[in-house]
């Protein structure tokens, strides 16, 4: 067992974990943050994507002990005071999901994508999300949701990350840190 200190969704935790515990297991089983799901279990599908210090990573391909001293943001840390993050709202408005299983990872990857490139082309969106698999929608509405958030930021003259933080009241840990 090893003691780790991790900030998850703006709350600090200090826990004993087994060395072999994966980050996704720690989030789900020890912290009860079941919003982060396990999909393929082989680090292919991206359903378990979270942000580590503001960048997207697959939490099934990382040990909890590696997260010691770092900041993790899950899908559960995006909304603030009951107000959805703009990317969550756009997925809802554009019907960018059917079964919803890929949605947490897809949203976290999409936020990282826009932090990096606030005005992506459709091709850049598709390539930027290639670490996340959706087996229901054919991706079209997911791309539309990302375009909606990017377009909203562009029309207000703000970057995606600044727009996200301002309208959702989200903290820097939701991805604006990059």
């Amino acid at each position: 067992m090893t003691r780790i200190s991790v900030n998850v969704d703006r709350v600090s935790y200090s826990d004993e974990v087994e060395n072999r515990t994966l980050l996704v297991q720690y989030l789900r089983d020890q912290l009860g943050k079941t919003g982060t799901v396990v999909g393929c279990d082989t680090s292919s599908c991206g359903a378990c994507t979270v942000h580590l210090d503001g960048r997207s990573v697959k939490s099934c391909a990382m040990l909890a002990v590696q997260a010691d001293g770092h900041e993790v943001t899950t899908i559960e840390g995006l909304a603030s005071d009951g107000v959805l993050h703009p990317m969550q709202a756009a997925f809802y408005e554009c019907h960018a999901l059917q079964c919803g299983f890929c949605t947490p990872g897809m949203i976290l990857s999409a936020i990282d994508l826009l932090n990096d490139n606030p005005n992506p082309t459709e091709t850049e969106i598709r390539e930027g999300l290639d670490g996340n698999l959706c087996r229901c929608t054919g991706y079209q509405n997911i791309v539309r949701a990302v375009q909606q958030v990017a377009g909203a930021s562009a029309s207000t003259g703000a970057s995606a990350s600044a727009g996200a933080s301002a309208s959702a009241g989200a903290s820097a840990s939701t991805g604006a840190s990059s």
Partner: protein
């Protein structure tokens, strides 16, 4: 599945890592973990001890040393892909790093880890070979530098010995050279079925120097020396380049698998070489 139990150490210096690597006969080194952790989960490996290099800051970063670019082994693919220094002096590595897996894997996966893992379909091996990179390996008795031609020895096998780690990769500067990494795969995230790494120096509309290497055409990356020579003096023109690279697969014995047989890969190599060299020269 979850990995079998192991002891875990996260040293903060190379010296401490050396001591820990000598502490057990069954140690695995953890870099970014994007290959090792899936392997542990599948129980294809169950080491007694894991030594995580992620806390050794001196292994991260990119710097210049005269005519050489030095890339720390624990530098992430994402940092390599975005580095202005790499883009200026080793554009081929920038281009190849941008194609590794997907964004999440590039954020955690490391440059040195991928080279030390030496998957024959890995995207950084052929570029490192084409650029005549050399590998600094540190062991209990000191450090040694191994050229790329001797570093890759077989499938998943490099010159790194027991108790040793790769600390940095030294790349001769190829400032002003054009570069391209042309990778063929059928679906997103798939490993390269074949890829061609090319970097060229163009003078007055003709190719003055060329460096070309092949990914996944054998158990180790293959330097296309004859093709490099054939490209010298060739005009930057699709048909002239196609003629110069037509025989690039001669002498190779690529693997056959569900993605294609050896003959298919040989055909792919010449098609991808034409595209890659043309893009590098353009």
């Amino acid at each position: 599945m979850i990995p079998a139990a192991f002891d875990y150490h996260a040293p903060t210096s190379v010296e401490e890592a050396m001591r820990l690597l000598g502490s057990s006969g069954d140690v695995k080194v953890l870099a970014g973990g994007q290959s090792l952790i899936p392997v542990l989960r599948l129980r294809l490996a169950a080491p007694e001890v894991i030594v995580d290099l992620g806390r050794i800051e001196s292994l991260r970063g990119i710097r210049e040393d005269g005519d050489t670019l030095v890339i720390g082994a624990m530098t992430s693919h994402d940092v390599v892909a975005r580095s202005p220094l790499v883009a200026t002096h080793a554009l081929l590595l920038s281009k190849a790093a941008q194609t590794v897996a997907d964004p999440q894997v590039r954020h955690l996966g490391t440059f040195g880890g991928a080279l030390a893992h030496a998957d024959p379909a890995g995207d950084l091996l052929a570029p490192a070979l084409a650029l005549d990179a050399s590998f600094v390996i540190v062991g209990p008795s000191g450090s040694r530098t191994v050229p790329a031609a001797d570093f890759f020895q077989d499938l998943f096998t490099t010159a790194i010995g027991e108790g040793e780690i790769l600390t940095e990769v030294r790349v001769p500067k190829h400032t002003g050279w054009g570069a391209h990494y042309e990778k063929f795969s059928r679906v997103a995230q798939q490993w390269a079925i074949v890829a061609v790494a090319a970097t060229v120096r163009v003078e007055g509309g003709t190719i003055a120097q060329a460096r070309v290497a092949l990914t996944n055409m054998g158990s180790v990356p293959i330097r296309a020396s004859a093709t490099e020579q054939a490209l010298v003096g060739v005009a930057v023109d699709a048909s002239a380049i196609a003629a110069a690279v037509a025989d690039i697969a001669d002498g190779t014995r690529p693997p056959s698998d569900l993605n294609g047989d050896g003959d298919y890969r040989r055909h792919l190599a010449s098609v991808l070489a034409r595209r890659s060299v043309l893009a590098a020269a353009g």
